[in-house]
């Protein structure tokens, strides 16, 4: 693709580029919330739930057509129609993602190993993907393509859905970030202050669920994994305050996305995977020069 001009690339692929940039901005912000709640691994398990939901949706098409219908369309027509297909996939992906997320959150309140729970959830969702895949080989091959994160086929309707859902997630996360931080840092104190913690947790989990469900369908799980986790880890190393972390993570996500687009087009590599690979550039300083233990900042009047 190296002999194609950038203006032609832009003309051909402006929708995928927009999709990647939107994901690069919003996913790291949501990933910051996952990180602060020590639930970064959800970023790996939840897209797998979404994938299982999409395959289940394919397997359920005959049942859906018989009992609910596709607004007068046949199943083939519905899947060929961009709007109907994406809405149908989103419904199943969101149902499975939110079920998985709320189950993990509910089990988390009962104690035990978070990592063990998330690993078990990932294994279960993975198994379900293949079991439902036996019922719908078309669904399984659709999801397999999603996992490759080749997002060049993203069109106008996908962009509209992505911009709408991610715009909502971005605005609400920015509006409530202080409450989310308070509740994540000291849940009891948030309750003492009169915060409606249950409602806030429901809101945050719903935003995470929507982000993952829409992202899995439109930009694919691989790009989603990378953008939810890596930019926050990079930003945490440099951020000296909460505001800095919340600004720096999306900035790292956006710059990685731009770098990934460049790599993808110049070397003719899958766009999503290239962006995730580009985030590693920012990880390298942390790997080569690990952070030192926090320096004791004792300069108070009383403590030595």
């Amino acid at each position: 693709m190296t002999d194609v001009s950038w203006s032609l690339r832009w003309e051909l692929f402006h929708f995928p580029i927009f999709a990647a940039l939107i994901a690069g901005l919003v996913c790291p912000l949501i990933g910051t919330m996952l990180f602060l709640r020590r639930t970064s691994f959800y970023g790996i398990a939840l897209p797998q739930f979404a994938a299982a939901g999409i395959v289940c949706g394919f397997a359920a098409i005959p049942w859906w057509f018989e009992h609910i219908g596709f607004g007068g369309l046949t199943p083939e027509e519905a899947l060929a129609d961009a709007h109907a297909a994406i809405n149908y996939h989103f419904l199943w992906a969101a149902a499975f993602t939110l079920s998985g997320l709320y189950s993990l959150a509910w089990l988390g309140r009962r104690g035990g190993s978070e990592i063990g729970r998330v690993a078990a959830a990932f294994a279960l969702a993975n198994a379900c993907t293949y079991l439902f895949g036996r019922l719908s080989p078309v669904g399984l091959s659709f999801v397999t393509e999603l996992f490759q994160s080749e997002i060049l086929s993203v069109g106008r309707h996908e962009i509209e859905v992505l911009a709408g859902a991610y715009g909502l997630a971005f605005v609400l996360t920015c509006a409530f970030h202080r409450d989310f931080v308070l509740m994540s840092f000291d849940r009891d104190y948030a309750i003492v202050l009169g915060k409606r913690v249950f409602g806030l947790e429901l809101l945050l989990n719903s935003l995470i669920g929507i982000t993952v469900a829409v992202g899995t369908i439109i930009v694919g799980p691989t790009l989603l994994f990378g953008l939810l986790i890596v930019p926050t880890l990079v930003a945490r190393r440099w951020a000296k305050s909460m505001s800095a972390l919340l600004v720096l993570a999306p900035v790292v996500g956006l710059v990685s996305t731009l770098l990934g687009i460049l790599i993808s087009f110049e070397l003719d590599l899958p766009l999503g995977a290239s962006i995730v690979a580009a985030t590693l550039v920012f990880m390298l300083p942390g790997v080569c020069f690990p952070a030192r233990a926090p320096k004791y900042a004792g300069t108070s009047e009383v403590d030595p």
């Binding site: 000291d186 009891d188 000296k240 305050s241 108070s300």
Partner: protein, 235 residues
């Protein structure tokens, strides 16, 4: 249930627990202005459950509870707070401003000045910009006390305020609590530290076997002309 003059809160025959299982039963107590109450007892006796019950963090299964218009300040155990968050000491204190109604939560200049004043009060006027996670145990505890003071509480509830801090830090926290008590703030301390309760508490509550009962104040460890050989002091 009406509170008497000077009374900040009252519990009558209350039981607290989780689910339907009571952990504490038949708890009756009253806290007045100027009280410094020490709550002691073995592990698992229900000390923290009582504290959480008073704060509304643990459901009251039966009985009556009244706190009138008393504002409660809460200082949790600092070990429960996550060092992962890149929060400064001022950020932590500023969390209390989130209690305000929607639309009045923006931290403005007077709020920042209040933060600085409270940091000065707890002896940390130069630490506002430092990361909370990098402060020493005693300093973090004092930041949490400053955070509770933003609400201008009439009763301060502290969960193990001196656990795991060195002697110097312990003394600084004790001095601070004494100062707050002098300012007229009533204090309820849950502590394993006999020394803290002996020297500071004007009243002692003992939790044991699912009950909380008033106990005799413990003899002070402070050396005074009247008590040349205080309890707990080595001979």
């Amino acid at each position: 249930m009406k509170l008497e003059s000077g009374e900040l809160l009252r519990l009558e025959d209350a039981s607290f627990g989780y689910g339907r299982k009571p952990i504490l039963t038949g708890v009756s107590l009253s806290i007045h202005r100027g009280d410094v109450v020490g709550l002691i007892g073995p592990n698992g006796a229900g000390k923290t459950t009582l504290l959480r019950g008073l704060l509304g963090l643990c459901p009251m299964l039966s009985g009556r509870f009244s706190k009138g218009t008393t504002t409660l300040g809460y200082v949790p155990q600092r070990e429960t707070l996550d060092g992962l968050f890149p929060l400064t000491a001022s950020d932590v204190i500023g969390m209390s401003f989130r209690a305000r109604p929607f639309g009045r939560r923006r931290i403005r200049k007077p709020d920042r000045e209040q933060c600085e004043r409270l940091l000065g009060k707890v002896g940390l006027s130069r630490e506002g910009g430092n990361a909370f996670a990098t402060l020493s145990g005693g300093q973090r505890q004092r930041v949490l006390i400053a955070r509770a003071l933003v609400l201008e509480p009439r009763l301060l509830l502290l969960d193990e305020p001196t656990s795991g801090v060195d002697r110097e830090a312990n003394l600084s926290i004790v001095r601070l609590l004494r100062e707050l008590s002098t300012d007229g703030i009533a204090i309820l301390i849950v502590s394993h530290s006999d020394e803290l309760i002996r020297d500071e508490a004007t009243r002692v509550l003992r939790a044991a076997n699912g009950r909380v009962e008033e106990a005799e104040p413990l003899p002070s460890t402070r050396v005074s002309p009247e008590h040349p050989n205080p309890a707990g002091a080595s001979s």
